[in-house]
Amino acid sequence: MPTQTPTTPASPKLDVAGVAMPGSATDSGSATERIQGLRCRNCGRVEVLGPSYVCAACFGPLEVVYDYAVIRDLVDRATIERRPPGIWRYLELLPVSEPPARGLAVGSTPLIAADRLGASLSIDRLWLKDDTRNPTLSFKDRVVAVATARAVEFGADTLACASTGNLAGATAAAAAAAGLRAFVFVPADLEPAKIDHALAYGATVVPIDGTYDQVNRLSMEVADELGWAFVNITLRPFYSEGSKTLAFEIAERLGWRLPDVVVAPIASGSLFTKVAKGFDELVTVGLVEPKPVKFIGGQAAGCSPVATAFGEGTDVIRPVEHPTTIVRSLAIGSPADGRYALDLARRTGGSIESVEDEVTATAIRSVAALEGIFPETAGGVTISAAAQARAAGIIGPDDEVVALLTGNGVKTPDARSYGHEDRPAERGGPGLAPVIAPSLAAFERWLDA
């Protein structure tokens, strides 16, 4: 069974498998104390915890409310460090009562010192958070794991999502692991590899003849009418909290301290803002010292509503009706959390960069060739955003920078060579060698030619 089994030395309690779990039945009282309910971000109205995502009074977005004083008493660095890898080592800061009985092994991905790539960008201290290594090869496994755990706690039997691609596979796999049905709604022109990925886990894939924003609108109607658990709609207050685990892992890996700069891609803007929230929470519960962190976001030039608003100095985010970019995973024309992302970049002295597709493709090749990590298009946008911010002086030469590589390039293989012809290999050089006969002599003839 693909289950993670964190242990907690403090008040260890045994689950049915005989493995100590944080927050398991006998100390579940802490869950109801630390998770207080849902609150409207707009009007402040409080609701009881449930599968709600929008305020009935004003239509504002709902968020989970925690009691940080309770959490501060529940966790310390040593307790977390003694737990096994995975996102549930930070259970007390997640909106889930206890680790799920069934689920994928998500999180604890490497933070890699990228000296060679850093040198090419004139950034001396560059870290890559390699989330290409999650179970379905993207950071979406984090948010889906939290949403799925909550869906099970709410008694759902079907998971669904509206996806630009990575979420489709993550939702399908999480549903399979948890024993739930899965329906994923995607734009019909999505990369075939991402559709195949979701199909492989037994999900029903529903291609929609439209943009992601149209898929999302339809999904909201389906969610409302059928009551299905859409991870990124009806479960959004819980789902979005999963991105905080990136922040927790970065801080822990750095020795319980915060970096100077975070660079991340912006699609809806949720990941970007939730990483900041994760850092804040670590400060609030006493796990790290407070420190200013600059947040730099990247968007594809063919769908950059937040970067455009940032560049124009306005608070108005004009939706992009028809995204035109190879970066499908960021092609959200009407970003749900765009205004929060915009505010975060401005308030921290960061920026939101717009990146041309050719530049993204070049960056993908650079990361792969210099660090041995093959990121998907969003990773190319992120590294390009770091390069642009460094060139503009927003990132200083001595800044410690963490760049988030949120998805794996094997899902978007064509993007690597966008605007760039793969060259035939010359002797000892990179590229595709000619077909040669299966003999050492033939190989040596080519090598010596």
């Binding site: 609150r39 971000r41 707009n42 995502y53 929008v54 305020c55 009935a56 009074a57 004003c58 239509f59 504002g60 977005p61 709902l62 968020e63 940080y68 924003d213 149209q214 999302n216 609108r217 909201m220 109607e221 409302d224 009418e225 709609i233 959004r236 207050p237 789902y239 979005s240 915060l258 809806s268 949720s270 803002t273 939730k274 900041a276 929230k277 850092f279 804040d280 929470e281 400060v283 609030t284 010292e289 407070p290 420190k291 200013p292 962190v293 947040f295 004009r318 939706p319 009706e321 009407s334 749900a336 959390d337 205004r339 929060y340 975060l344 308030r347 921290t348 002295g349």
Partner: protein, 117 residues
């Protein structure tokens, strides 16, 4: 009369109706007609200045009216308006430890931040 489809979160204000008819020749006048018939909808659909609540998306047939002429978008009686939440996850922060309202801790640049913690 145009047709307006009502999402579940607003149906308490329309007596449970999933769709209602409303008159008007623009999105704005249709919404005015709607809130006149169902006054309970006004706080959810409109802001204090009478503009569209920023958390509401209005679609004319299948197009977000923000891609058209917003509240001034012409409406035909055969058209359908769809109301949906403009979903956002939010990113509420615990707040600056110094008690100011400048923002979350890692982003706070106020003088009180350095001594807080």
């Amino acid at each position: 009369m145009s047709t307006v489809r009502i999402p579940p979160v607003l149906r308490a204000q329309t007596g449970g109706l999933k769709q209602v008819d409303a008159s008007g020749d623009t999105v704005g006048t249709v919404i005015a007609s709607l809130t006149s018939t169902y006054p309970g909808l006004a706080p959810q659909l409109l802001d204090e200045r009478g503009g569209l609540n920023r958390f509401v998306n209005v679609y004319l047939n299948d197009t977000d009216v923000r891609h058209l002429q917003e509240l001034a978008t012409p409406v035909d009686e055969r058209d359908t308006l769809l109301l949906l939440p403009a979903m956002a996850g939010g990113a509420g922060m615990p707040g600056c430890p110094c008690g100011c309202t400048c923002g979350p801790r890692v982003t706070c640049a106020c003088p009180g931040r350095a001594s807080a913690g």
